[in-house]
Symmetry: C2
DNA sequence: CCGATACTGCCAGAATATGACAGCATGAGC
DNA sequence: GCTCATGCTGTCATATTCTGGCAGTATCGG
């Protein structure tokens, strides 16, 4: 195995563990001596990997991925930049900051003669201007979806009536003017879509709902397709 | 200089030339023997670089960039994926294909345990559903902007009147429902924004307009900010 | 204090990369 | 079909880099 493959594998191994792992252990798993393992860790850290080592404890990797060298065409870079700009201007602050970081990281490694091309890319995404007020934090919803957690919400429906619901959120749709949480609603025992701007209150319950989000998404797509009345059908 | 640095430099050198360059020449510039240069070229090609070599001619690199290994956080990857999805669903077919390629390339290098996370990312961008008919090809406009080329268009304004114009396009704005070309209009001797769906006809003239697009963009932003009447002000 | 672990320096041997050379292949121009 | 410029490959000795082992220091928690 080549050195670079090994480094990639090391990252992967580190990520599999959630708790700190000793260098000794990592060395065994990657089939390398402890001395070399220390060198490998140093190399990865130099490349920007967020690996923390504490004496007496072991190593732990903050969540993230190392992308190996990749070749992108002009159009592909343009697509990347435009997409990141859209995310930066159209989503919640966490994601938006992440998108800005992506652009910064790419810019940092581009050769000097190309930086203007990236910064000056003349494809623009306007900042959302008549943003609907959102009471709740979108990143909380994203986190609940990621972890398949039940949340309780206070929701004002189209008729203006406020209800309390326990929902199993599994997807977040970014429409032009609104964002919609797709979820299973315990109250209705059916799928429901909730506009984020109409959610008044939200409390993640910190426990998982009993199904997989991928599975819910699949059923939901079928259900949406069947009635055809919803404008989310083509999400 | 380390091997990987040299490879990066080689890509950069290759891109500086527009015409084919002989291996001999490249070997001299990167300070390496011809034999090693051939090996380096092979390495880059194996990494996906689009380098073409023809006997008797030399090497030429198709436009593109090699990104070195990069570390992305979970949120950053999520932003990348969401952005690429938006581009894939909301732009012209060339860019859209490029965005799909970006996703495919990233997916290809992600460790197996993470692929589902990428494919199953539950942030969705609906396909544009009531797309306005566009007569002209958006990628032509992008190309004209990239090359700072004059184009002639037939345009139907808001009042329904069709006019012929020579314009200097310098930016393309992706609004929710429409796309807008920002350009200097020779007829009006002023900046004008053209909705792409109202452009009936378009002929790139293949020659450059006499100013830089970055400079036009800057003046345009100032002009837009001043009158304040336009909804493009916050682009 | 101890044990567990991170981390560094050093050096010899292993693995890899490089350069030199010899040779074949291919396309363009004569 | 010849020649030239170049791409491309194989081989092998040499140069460079990587690796493992070992010795030693530092830091944390108990």
């Amino acid at each position: 195995m080549s050195r670079s493959e090994r480094l990639l594998e090391l990252i992967q191994t580190l990520r599999r563990y959630r708790r700190p792992v000793s260098g000794q252990r990592l060395a065994e798993e990657t089939g390398v001596s402890l001395r070399t393992l220390y060198r490998d860790i140093a190399t990865l850290q130099a490349q920007g990997a967020d690996i923390e080592g504490e004496p007496g404890m072991g190593y732990i990797l903050k969540p993230g991925f190392l992308l190996p060298p990749l070749m992108f065409s002009e159009d592909e870079i343009e697509a990347l930049v435009l997409g990141s700009r859209w995310v930066a201007n159209r989503t919640d602050s966490d994601l938006s900051r992440a998108a800005a970081n992506v652009l910064a990281k790419i810019a940092a490694v581009l050769p000097d003669d190309l930086k203007p091309k990236l910064e000056g890319s003349n494809l623009l995404v306007p900042r959302a201007f008549s943003e609907l007020e959102e009471v709740v934090d979108l990143s909380l919803i994203r986190k609940a979806i990621r972890n398949e957690h039940i949340v309780e919400i206070g929701y004002i429906d189209a008729a203006g009536v406020e209800t309390e619901r326990r929902i199993w959120p599994f997807a977040l749709g970014f429409y032009d003017r609104v964002r919609v949480v797709a979820a299973w609603c315990e109250m209705r025992s059916d799928f429901r879509n909730f506009r984020t701007d109409r959610i008044q209150r939200m409390e993640p319950q910190g426990k998982r709902y009993p199904r997989r989000k991928a599975e819910l998404l699949k059923s939901w797509r079928i259900a949406e397709g069947r009635d055809g009345s919803s404008d989310t059908a083509n999400i």
